[in-house]
């Protein structure tokens, strides 16, 4: 277990190091902090003096070291637009994004496993055919079109759902304002969650189905039948546990895609999350905010990938995680 964490920590440090390098070079090359601070009216000599004072003329390594030191203290600079610490701005928006991802994940897990398993067990039934047909259409529709379609149908034509925003939120602890505990907040969450889920769900249904069909052909499943086990146990323990191994791995890779698609989903639904904020920051060339987003997203990647690896190790006995 300790070895696993050390290895993981090492990988995390490398990934974060690369991200910090990229972030730093963005900060270094994108936009002039001086202009943001003092405007155009200051003379060239005064600017040079200010630059020296701020250390902007120092060698690269020294500047990077200073940047790294600040990052480690949680200081990612001040957002040009919000005039607030960039990290705080981002963290304030993080719950909205996490709740969206959470909603989508629940939908994906809730639907993909039963549908995938069913269409693997009964590949020739009409329902499986419908599931497979819908899923290939689902893969082919870009997320933003799904979003537009859902808004058009459920918000405009039928008027059942709100078309944008997060609705009412409640303040939880640590400044986490949550939409999960108000009816209005949940109401607002439905369409964006389904939109975000729509890109992954068909992928997972198809993956689970094909893995499960392969597992059902395996010798150990045939042996389980020959042992006279109940079909429930064969499908949902013997087969499903083996099916989930590759699915977990792919799921880990897809987390990144999911975060990327939050940007699209949040844009269409004007969901006040990190992704929406990031696009705004790009349009305003708000460099500290862009950098802060990169670092936060990088950290999210590292943490989730570690969790996925951990789960994989727990499910798959051939991975020596516990180090017996």
């Amino acid at each position: 277990m300790i070895a696993f964490f050390i290895k993981r920590l090492f990988q995390a440090i490398i990934v974060m190091f690369v991200i910090s390098l990229i972030s730093f070079s963005i900060q270094d090359n994108l936009g002039d902090p001086l202009r943001e601070m003092v405007g155009q009216s200051v003379s060239e000599a005064e600017r040079q003096a200010l630059r020296d004072e701020m250390g902007l003329n120092d060698p690269f390594l020294i500047q990077y070291g200073r940047f790294l030191g600040n990052v480690l203290q949680g200081d990612l600079g001040t957002s040009y637009f919000f005039k607030e610490p960039a990290l705080e701005v981002i963290l304030k928006k993080m719950p909205a994004t996490l709740e969206l991802v959470f909603g989508a994940t629940i939908i994906i897990v809730l639907f993909s496993v039963p549908l995938g398993v069913y269409s693997a067990i009964k590949p020739f039934s009409w329902f499986s055919r419908v599931v497979m047909g819908v899923s290939i259409v689902g893969i082919s529709v870009p997320v933003f079109l799904t979003a537009i379609g859902l808004i058009y149908l459920f918000a405009i034509e039928l008027g059942w759902m709100p078309s944008y925003g997060r609705g009412d939120t409640v303040d939880m602890f640590w400044g986490w304002d949550s939409g999960l505990f108000t009816l209005d907040g949940l109401h607002h969450l439905i369409l964006p969650s389904f939109t975000l889920a729509s890109i992954m769900l068909p992928l997972f249904i198809r993956l689970i189905r094909s893995e499960m069909m392969e597992v059902l052909q395996s010798e150990y499943v045939k042996f389980a039948w020959a042992k006279g086990l109940h079909s429930r146990r064969i499908y949902f323990l013997h087969a499903l546990k083996n099916t989930m191994l590759p699915v977990i791995t792919v799921g880990g890779v897809q987390i990144g895609t999911m975060v990327a698609y939050t940007i699209l989903t949040e844009t269409v639904f004007q969901w006040p999350g990190m992704g929406f904020l990031f696009l705004e920051a790009v349009n305003r060339v708000d460099t500290p905010l862009i950098v802060a987003y990169l670092i936060v997203v990088g950290a999210v990647f590292v943490v989730t990938n570690t969790i996925v690896d951990l789960i994989y190790g727990l499910v798959n006995p051939t991975v020596k995680l516990a180090g017996k």
């Binding site: 020959a226 006279g228 013997h238």
Partner: protein, 330 residues
């Protein structure tokens, strides 16, 4: 009355190109405690026969005709729950490759206990006691430790012993073993085979041993069935078949054994290969490869002729026996 009675069994596979019969007109009996060898080249249908007894053939295959009588029930058209209660309980199976047979993500213990619990109302602890005792029977050292281990922590020979222990868990009447030693190291093969014979004898369990190895059959079984292209072509006491094979195909198999070859000369192969099931020739299926084939062999399907204690499906043998009888009659 025989323990297991198979009558005119026929198994078909519905392929896109049409229906193909993998087994035709299979009939045989198995007595309590009897050990039966099923021999033939790969593709002869011996594994299909083994699996069809427990109705374990998967789509697109199915039992299309015939009866399998066991304990007053016809296994061929038993309900799903009915056949489930027999599988692993009264009739259990041993598969070919122990590396693939055990589920990699479940412990040995889980895979043993679940089998007991599927057929009996039994607590985990009671099931564990039985499981450990069976592991001892198959000479697994420190069975309590093995009980909690995963398959990948054990060697191939060890895993096959565990598979055998699982097959013995519920004290079955019949064990069907599908090439149980083929995937193992040569050094372990004999060991596993001896173990199986010993356990069957001690517990009075009937064994259906599916193999292409006539040597194994001669050592382990009392009765032999030789199959070719989905049909039984010769069956009878193992000793008679080994010492005095009647059917030209069985003779060919015997002659092809390495022991039969003259040192320094090539092994005696049977020429040609078994036809695929879609293209089985008319008449006797073996006729294109048979040295004795005559016109009748190409036209008519041979019926069984008694020869000693054996049944042989061959026109030549039938003609010879007829000639003998008429001689005796004169």
């Amino acid at each position: 009355m025989a323990l297991l009675e198979v009558k005119n069994l026929e198994v078909s596979f519905g392929l896109r190109s049409g229906e193909v019969k993998a087994l035709r007109n299979i009939s045989f009996n198995l007595d309590r405690g009897e050990r039966l060898g099923l021999v033939g080249e790969s593709g002869a249908g011996k594994s299909v026969l083994g699996f069809s007894i427990l109705n374990l053939i998967s789509r697109p295959g199915r039992i299309s005709a015939g009866e399998i009588w066991f304990d007053g029930q016809n296994l061929a058209n038993l309900s799903a729950e009915g056949i489930r209660a027999i599988r692993g309980n009264r009739i259990s199976m041993i598969f070919q490759d122990p590396m693939m047979t055990l589920n990699p993500v479940l412990t040995i213990g889980q895979q043993m206990v679940e089998c007991l619990q599927a057929h009996r109302k039994i607590s985990f602890d009671a099931a564990k006691t039985i499981a450990v005792q069976k592991l001892k029977q198959v000479y697994i050292p420190s069975p309590e430790t093995r009980f909690d281990q995963y398959p990948h922590e054990l060697s191939g020979g060890m895993r096959q012993r565990i598979v055998i222990a699982i097959a013995l868990l519920l004290d079955p009447d019949i064990i069907i073993a599908d090439e149980p030693t083929t995937a193992l190291d040569v050094t372990i093969q004999a060991e596993i085979m001896e173990l199986m014979v010993e356990l069957c004898e001690r517990n009075n369990v009937a064994l259906i041993l599916i193999t292409h190895d006539l040597g194994v059959v001669s050592q382990a079984t009392q009765k032999t069935i030789v199959m070719y292209a989905g049909r039984i072509i010769e069956q009878g006491p193992t000793k008679e078949i080994i010492n005095d094979a009647q059917h030209p195909y069985t003779q060919g198999l015997m002659n092809a054994l390495p022991q039969m070859a003259i040192p320094g000369q090539r092994l005696n192969q049977i020429r040609g290969a078994m036809p695929p099931l879609q293209r089985i020739p008319t008449g006797c299926a073996f006729n294109p490869r048979c040295d004795y084939a005559e016109e009748a062999c190409k036209r008519e399907l041979p019926t069984f002729t008694r020869s000693g204690n054996c049944q042989v499906a061959c026109h030549m043998v039938a003609a010879m026996r007829k000639a003998e009888q008429t001689q005796e009659g004169v």
